[in-house]
Symmetry: C2
Subunit: 406 residues, 2 copies
Amino acid sequence: MRKINTRSFVRATRWTPREINLQILLNLVREHEPISRAELARRMKIGRGMVTYLTAELIAQGALYEGDTVDSPRGRRPQMLYVRTHDRLVIAIDIRFSSTYIMLTDFSGNSIAMETFDTIEDLNALVPELQTRVRNLLALHGASRKCEGIGLVVPGMVDAVSGQVLNAPQLGWRNVDIKTPLEEALGLPVHVENAPIACALAKMWLGRPGATVPTDFVYVTVSDGIGAGVVVNGQVVRGQTNSAGEFGHVPLTADGPDCLCGGHGCLEVYTSNLATVCRYLGKEFSPATARALLPSSGVTIAEVVSRALAGEARAVDALQVTARHLGAGLSVIIKTLSPTQIVVGGEITEAWEQLEPTIRAEIAARALTDMAAATPIVPELASAYPRLRGGTALVSAPLFAAPKFA
Amino acid sequence: MRKINTRSFVRATRWTPREINLQILLNLVREHEPISRAELARRMKIGRGMVTYLTAELIAQGALYEGDTVDSPRGRRPQMLYVRTHDRLVIAIDIRFSSTYIMLTDFSGNSIAMETFDTIEDLNALVPELQTRVRNLLALHGASRKCEGIGLVVPGMVDAVSGQVLNAPQLGWRNVDIKTPLEEALGLPVHVENAPIACALAKMWLGRPGATVPTDFVYVTVSDGIGAGVVVNGQVVRGQTNSAGEFGHVPLTADGPDCLCGGHGCLEVYTSNLATVCRYLGKEFSPATARALLPSSGVTIAEVVSRALAGEARAVDALQVTARHLGAGLSVIIKTLSPTQIVVGGEITEAWEQLEPTIRAEIAARALTDMAAATPIVPELASAYPRLRGGTALVSAPLFAAPKFA
DNA sequence: CCGACTTTGTTCTTTGTCAGAACATTCGTG
DNA sequence: CACGAATGTTCTGACAAAGAACAAAGTCGG
């Protein structure tokens, strides 16, 4: 039950049913590809004539294409329909604290080529660098295929409407508009988004075909900070100030270690990668000491994880404590949003077999109901490049999204 | 950007634009009443002919009615349209721990008559009692007006689809189906809903005409427990298990007092009315002692509030501590959902002038951004009967909700 | 090999709504 | 009292949805 906003509604016209049904059809093909017109007609409960009509338009638009006919037990052999993905390209860019990743993918997120370079914080240097690299990538691998846009993923708050980066502390960016100069430099539409939200979008829109895709879930990223992309009713929750999902700064204790946010005992000071590495090194965690200590120590979270996997007791213990606090944090999410699942991303997921029992036990101990205790917690490995997949989703998803009416 | 759920979509038909535009029209009348056809045509950017056609259908349905013509500076005098509310009745029922309230209202929530009786937990006795009382109310005040349904508000989790009360600890109900027997007894549709959600629905659907109605907010109820109704994008968030919004059991400290939920240091053990009264009495709070102590002490939360308003230091202090913790709890809501406003309901709001500065200060100290710190916190007085208004909204809102497509 | 049957896909006709023009109504004004 | 201006109604054309009829392309059994 949704309330109509009488200040910004979209009135239906004579072509509205067409728009809606085209979009439903497109999504049915996406999720059941390959699929025949007759099967689509059955699923949509419309006549085959209508399907012919609608598919013709989508094929003309270049959204679908016809494949071969396939065998059928009897009767005329159906002609299969596919979503056009392989010759529609997307540039996904993931800007992180130390490195920036650029990936050329097709429309469904398959990687074609990837590059990395040291992150450049200065916009005046970054944009030309991106410009040459993107042009090279497209010249080398683009062939005759068209690039449909750029998805830029940033570790910080992004304004959904303008695409401005409101605040990205790791890059020192505040109210930075990278969208406009990049669009001018490359002549392609640029979509900018916060990393956890982009990861959530990838999960929702680029799931493996056939897999049940959740429409109510939370994607929690564990890296230098803790972020979350919240999806409710198949829609991302941004909140009034684009700052929804800051579960990293929910306090677990009133008197815990100080946090950069000004609070104390935030989830982040117990479970961020910085905190885990500090714990491994046997040092008290504080944001200041962590920044100073870690680079000099030469120990990274990946190192801690691999030592834990190798069985080193100190590393295992450090991760166990992280898991316990993470479980406490996730149970806050379960209590407040009751999602159908929680996806956890970040380097520590490589050691998921060690973490999971502890996380689950912690959640079970704190859950209000049995069903809440059983909320699936799903790891996503860093090797799947979730942020870059998110970049692709930023460009491709809008073309599959539900039209907005009323 | 919403994802289409390909397992449960609603296909558009030839009548879809009509359905959508009828609903937009109805809502425009609701919010701008009285309003003429010509004005509606301008607001919807359609021809006046279309408006005549659509309003004729709504008038035939009994959703609108024509009022008098009014003066205009020049030209033909416009004929005003109104939403039919005064002769469409709703029975709102609020079942609470000690008392049950029944209110007969019109469609927009105006009270016509009200009754109270001691709550009966036994369903076999409760349903006949409600049956006779509702029949009497309708016979006395109903006149020739039609009652459109019953909105039943319950302190506990309710399954959105079946209307079953899954768990209402204050009433000792577990998987209780009150909807079916009540519908059979009275021959009217019955809508059952959890109290904080019902309050949120009332806020969204029965706001004063002209007031800006929020579509992203959280309604927090402070009573024997802490509950919350979460509204995102104009839709209530129920979560997988109808247990979203349990902010009352978010822990503020890891080692605080035990809570009934099995956790420790939950928001509820610091800010519920039981906790506040215990604090006033100078007793350590625990759920068991509170239940035992409070009835014998004879002190209620209303008493503590009125003593605080009279300036009694102990009462003022008890409420200040509650306010401090409540501020901490609300800042969790702000961080995780970033709503455009938070509405606080419950007896303690009578002392809002004392509470507000403390709550605001606590939120400001914990907020991540200036805008988050400025999130409006709005009190709703118990004297406005928010739960009963919620009961009315349960019946009337569905008739104004946006149709679901794609 | 051929006709009966089955299923897919296309084309054509009917139906009903949207959209906009034309028209009727009702007021103020010179 | 004609005229302009605004509101409200009616009429007509255009066009998409719905569904029937038809064409296409296969299997199967005799």
